[in-house]
């Protein structure tokens, strides 16, 4: 190894710096949760990926109906739960579009409480979905008002084909 061997102790620290700098870029430019991505931002903010909220809404003539995560994952292929979790960590347009497509491709009904469900045994006719809106919110604590607010950080709307 010779001269190169004298620098082997720097390889791993340099890798750490490179990944950490990329993580800063991901956080500042793409709303990557600073808890993730190898930049050691854990335990530094309430905005952990686990505290973010995904809102998926079916837009119809009768109004907008939110989908619960369980309903969404229920109609999706295996692995969608992990994909949704990844979307909360890094809410890119591509990821939001894929979630909207998943929701748009399925058939939806209203249950007795008026909530959207994929259960076809429901008494209601199938909803005519005009669009699907997907939004990711991040929590922001407000000391002055003693409130935990949720700010939208990413939003996509997918129109259904006519």
């Amino acid at each position: 190894m010779g001269a190169i061997g004298r620098f082997t102790g720097l390889v791993a620290p340099l890798a750490l710096v490179l990944v950490a700098v990329l993580q800063v870029w991901g956080v500042t430019q793409h709303d990557l949760s600073q808890w993730k991505g190898g930049g050691f931002g854990m335990f530094s903010t309430v905005d952990a990926n686990a505290n973010r909220v995904l809102d998926v809404r079916l837009v119809t003539e009768e109004g907008a109906f939110p989908l619960t995560p369980a309903e969404l994952v229920g109609v999706a292929p295996q692995g969608t739960g992990r994909f949704v979790s990844g979307t909360l960590t890094l809410p890119t347009d591509d990821r939001l579009d894929r979630i909207a497509e998943l929701a748009e491709r399925s058939a939806w009904y209203l249950d007795e409480q008026g909530a959207a469900t994929s259960d076809p045994s429901s008494a209601s006719p199938q909803l005519e979905v005009q669009a699907v809106e997907v939004t990711v919110y991040r929590p922001v604590p407000d000391r002055a008002d003693q409130r935990l607010r949720f700010e939208p950080i990413a939003h996509r709307r997918l129109e259904s084909p006519a």
Binding site: L16, V19, G38, D142
Partner: protein
Amino acid sequence: MATSTPTPDTPAGPTPTEARHRRIGELFWSSDPNELRPWEERFTLSATLLLLLLLLGSPATVPTTLLAVTGLVARDLLHRTWFWMAVAATFPLGLLRMSWLAWDNHHFLLLYWIVAIAITRLAAEPDEQLRRSARLLLGLTFLFATLWKLGTPDFRSGEFFAYLTVSDPRIANVLVALGLQDGTVVPTLAAELRQLEPGADAALPIAPGVWRVAELLAWATIAVEGAIAALYLAPLTSRWRWLRDAALVAFVLVTYPVAPVSGFGWLLVSMGLMATSLTGRRRTTLYLGAFLAIAVFTERNAVRNAIEQVLSLLPGVG
């Protein structure tokens, strides 16, 4: 272990105390500690803790698990370059089963540490290079952690810690015990968040006194983590290097009773052990003690169950 006979060319045999320490050493780090130079002993202990971490607290695949078990049994393997190359080649397979977005920060750090061990074995002075890696990895980890905390408004203002007091039962229980908070706060907020309409906000029932404590804690954390970063990144003279060990072990003892991330703690201990300039029993006691303390802090339920099981087997107990 071969016995030594005093001759004019060789020093007298070990004292009874030295002989006892060597026998203990045989159990923990080598079939013959006389053949190990001091840095090799340090490396062996550090590598042992790392292999235990791979077995107990990492997303290791079957090949990595088998290598870890083999390394713990056949201790000479710990000094073979191919062994560490094999660990470095197989460990990422476990990480790749997950999306990189799901990796925790200690998964990244564990990968760096394994790569550091493997690659520095190629150097003419592996000890010097690996110590440099350990020191820089520790310093940089704490540096980035400090920078994120300094750069995040909700951390500096104490809002993050205040939020933990109403959302994390472990921290809330301490405040309840001190009479600073009502025991119903955490479940009430959790229920409210579950029912919350997306985009709506929730009340944070945080007492004024808790806000002040949270702000103080935030700046204390920044000071402690910043100090550890500075101690590991600065080229200290040998007189002051013990400060690194003191700061790191103090951090571990204060952090891990409330942060349930044993993998991160054990990794810091493994790297701290490699970077230390302490020697002999002080080194072993300090770092093995820290390793065990993390196990007790983070796996207290498992430890309690194990003790109860052992006690139940004893006649006349339970």
